[in-house]
Point group: C2
Chain length 526, copies 2
């Protein structure tokens, strides 16, 4: 029997508040530190490892977190998710994104169909379509192969698929599986669509319109842009466009599209990368087999998230440590720092995933809560960030917990030796050095050169950024955010906070404004 309770009503949370704070500098210095790094480590799927030695925890705090996980019934709640209960209470919907990559629990029948079968069927339809495009069986009107695929979508239809495409583009090139180059149009700023259209050969481009409702204003506007460009090039748009949408949307059965692939209301935008939303563009770009590997990685990591043993459940422990940092230690932000150029836009996706899911002030019943919820997430790839905002992270007045990601091998395999080490070794040396620098600091009589340390971080280490590890990483963070939402007792699957802006923007466009809104509209020449 699941109870949904506010975090501050849980005895285990009250107890956690009273645990002694860990002195991270002491804990991580000397042989103690070495032992911690060996001990505070959990295997993830696909050869990844989650290491939390440099987090401000010890066995006592961890025991408190285990109790919190139990009292908050995190495993039971995850089971309720994948068994199809209506977990998204705000919108009264199931939450089934895990099912796009595997069957974790019971069969779920909704809208008259078995949902796992439905998602597999869509994946197969996309695979068939992509294979035909790659084989030259589906072509442009001149019978020529499509060479470019362009995703038109915003938010969850953009950030996740874009981050994953960028993560795997060079990997695919090296493995001779880059079938089509992918581009993305998202912003309603007309310069976004215009610039992308200027950079491609529209005659050999296939466009994917992604909108669950079929009514997203940015996306429809950008579709219109694309149709104009195709028309100007003397091309029939319906030969160049496919739709990813829900079966009930106006796009689903339109003749304007070569094909339509379906998602449904149980897949939130920010959780849709493993559905048709990511599937269409990634299968077209890399081939369906690569997309299937990505799903396998995510499914394998999902299974680990079932583990009731918190200390062997990386997503759950990561979530709990994050709650400890936010609510006990009082840290507002978390920086995500992948030491991999391939993951350059992964932080932007996690920023949406986390902040849109848990940036809430009411619990899942719509009642106010008395504690902080989701953190501010930001990040850039290392080593770039080291030469940018790390100054504040090391010596600023506020502590920002860090989440590093590093890989032993690069993707392209080209490297140089300078000063007796490769670039890859330098990259890895830097992330190792940063963890210790942040945790341990270094005393200096010149206080300007003094590092207090005590700045917590974790690291996920893997062999290489490839389809399976990217799938596993995505699942890890999706499940982390879900578990945190459970602890905070918020609904991580709606986003009412985006509505008011939409309503007011419509009023501006209808010239139905007064007061400040009217003056701003005038200043902006609308």
């Amino acid at each position: 029997m699941i109870s949904w309770n506010n975090m501050d009503t849980l005895a285990s949370f009250q107890e956690l508040m009273k645990t002694e704070r860990v002195n991270l500098v002491e804990a991580m210095t000397g042989e103690n530190g070495a032992e911690r790094v060996k001990k505070y480590s959990i295997p993830m799927a696909e050869g990844l490892v989650y290491n939390y030695a440099a987090k401000q925890v010890d066995d006592t705090v961890l025991a408190g977190l285990v109790k919190l996980a139990e009292e908050a019934q995190l495993t039971d709640k995850f089971q309720a998710v994948y068994n199809g209960e209506v977990i998204n209470t705000g919108e009264k919907r199931r939450v089934l994104h895990h099912m796009t990559r595997g069957q974790l629990g019971e069969n779920v029948v909704a809208d008259g169909v078995d949902k796992r079968s439905f998602y597999v069927e869509q994946q197969q339809k996309i695979a068939d379509f992509a294979n035909k495009v790659h084989a030259g069986q589906i072509t442009n009107a001149a019978g020529e192969k499509f060479t470019t695929v362009v995703q038109i979508g915003i938010g969850g239809s953009d950030l996740g698929p874009r981050a994953i495409y960028l993560a795997l583009e060079n990997w695919a090139r090296i493995h001779n599986t880059l079938k089509m180059e992918a581009k993305f149009i998202s912003n309603v700023d007309p310069d976004d669509a215009a610039a992308v259209l200027n950079s491609i050969d529209v005659a050999h481009s296939l466009f994917i319109l992604v909108s669950k409702s079929g009514t997203t204003l940015e996306t429809l506007t950008n579709e219109s842009f694309v149709k104009d460009a195709l028309k100007k090039a003397g091309l029939d748009a319906s030969n160049h466009m496919v739709a990813v949408t829900s079966e009930t949307s106006p796009l689903a059965k339109s003749d304007d599209y070569l094909a339509a692939f379906f998602m449904d209301d149980y897949i939130g935008g920010r959780y849709s990368s493993s559905s048709a939303v990511g599937g269409a563009v990634l299968s077209l770009a890399f081939g369906p087999e690569v997309f299937a590997q990505f799903l396998d990685g995510a499914a394998a990591e999902d299974k680990l998230s079932l583990n009731k043993d918190v200390l062997n459940n990386p997503a759950m422990l990561d979530a709990l440590i994050g709650v400890y940092e936010r609510n006990v230690l009082g840290y507002l932000c978390t920086a995500v720092l992948p030491y991999s150029q391939a993951l350059s836009r992964f932080p932007a996706h996690l920023q949406q995933l986390d902040m849109e899911s848990n940036g809430k002030s009411v619990n899942r019943f719509g009642e106010p809560i008395n504690y902080e919820t989701g953190p501010v997430i930001f990040g850039e790839p290392g080593t770039n960030g080291q030469h940018s905002f790390y100054q504040l992270l090391h010596q600023g007045t506020s502590i920002v917990p860090l989440q590093f990601i590093g890989f032993k091998n690069n993707q392209i395999g080209t490297d140089v030796v300078i000063q007796d080490s490769t670039s890859q070794q330098k990259l890895c040396a830097n992330v190792a050095a940063q963890i210790v620098a942040f945790a341990c600091g270094k005393s200096d009589e010149n206080r300007n050169k003094n590092f207090e340390g005590g700045r917590p971080s974790s690291i996920i280490i893997g062999d290489q950024v490839n389809p399976k590890t990217v799938g596993a990483l995505l699942s890890h963070f999706e499940n982390k955010v879900m578990f945190q939402g459970f602890v905070w007792n918020v609904n991580s699957f709606d986003q009412e906070g985006v509505q008011l802006g939409k309503v007011l923007a419509k009023r501006v466009l209808a010239h139905d404004t007064d007061g400040a809104l009217k003056v701003y509209s005038d200043l902006l020449n609308i």
Copy 2:
């Protein structure tokens, strides 16, 4: 006579702490709100306007900020900067980046030369070189024109020039002044250089190596990458490379480069976009005239920052409001939200500019301070962010002050009308709507749909993203950060916080590690 005092010793700051908090919802609702938007507005250079009506201030708070500016001697301190005093106390250096774009005060002679003349001379040398490249007077060995320019640099040698290039690329294309396409290599991750090199025709590429000291490890490593690629293509690297460095660096007089352009120790990396660091790549990409326009925009805005009347000095007032938000209202973060795809990487540059300058825990004399300093800066372009992290900004438990930037016109000039409005109108309607939504909120009985409001923002509004407005924007934020550093009494021009990581990374590469660092190194296979 200038005194450098900690902020908490200033009577005006103590007084400011006692001012009544403004109820932003009340202030911005109804005709009051309309009046505020009209009144709380300052013209900037190049037709820009800084509007702070939706900030949590009123005439009383503003009067307090004016007193703080006076007591902290902000204008006098800015004068000391541009008159060449040794303001960077940590590194015992002058701070002369303003002089790269104009002469605000006295002639400054250092290293035996008049510094304004020196910077103008470098700008001219770059202009001559760029003109010869564009005219085909400087070519590759086969006598063919260079078509691509690649900047090799990291941190300040990367983020600013890259953000400005992206801001102006489409503008230049439309104005037939895109002379060469620019690319950027920064990360020590070997996949960064490899991917860029795979995407260009090296035989027609000119590479700019940017390192003030000539010793930045990432940059030298990436140079080596490029030299390998040129050699493999049977090309002589010295025909394809120029250096931007200090006159005393090992790169300055090397035969390895076609030419060397100089900056000096008085230009910090993050303040170097208007020096040769930005000058070389931007002049080659867009032509020297465009770079000169960019400098004009910055110079014009610099002049406004001299204004002793705080309420007519946009950078100074923006700085003071930021201090008020950080130290009186207690907000940690600031989000920078440009409603312009062209400014997609501008937030990443401001993140470095701000966090590396003011993320400090000691004052300019190296003494500990008792108050918060630089905020965490993050941001993405609108409307994309609306479909991502805005949920937390609207309904999260922590308030994040916002800095919007919007333009009446797009760059490319292609647009479509959907539902009776253009994309540009939708873009502008959205930013207007967001300001009011954040400030005023909206009550709803369903608390999940309730918006508390009271979330402060400012907006800079301009006609278009073009060389002059980008220059003015850059100057605005550089001077804002400088003024905040003055108020906090920190040295905004050094970055000792980046050193410890470098030292430890070298130890890892030399296998000179023990404890936690050794175990992390093993885990990462170094």
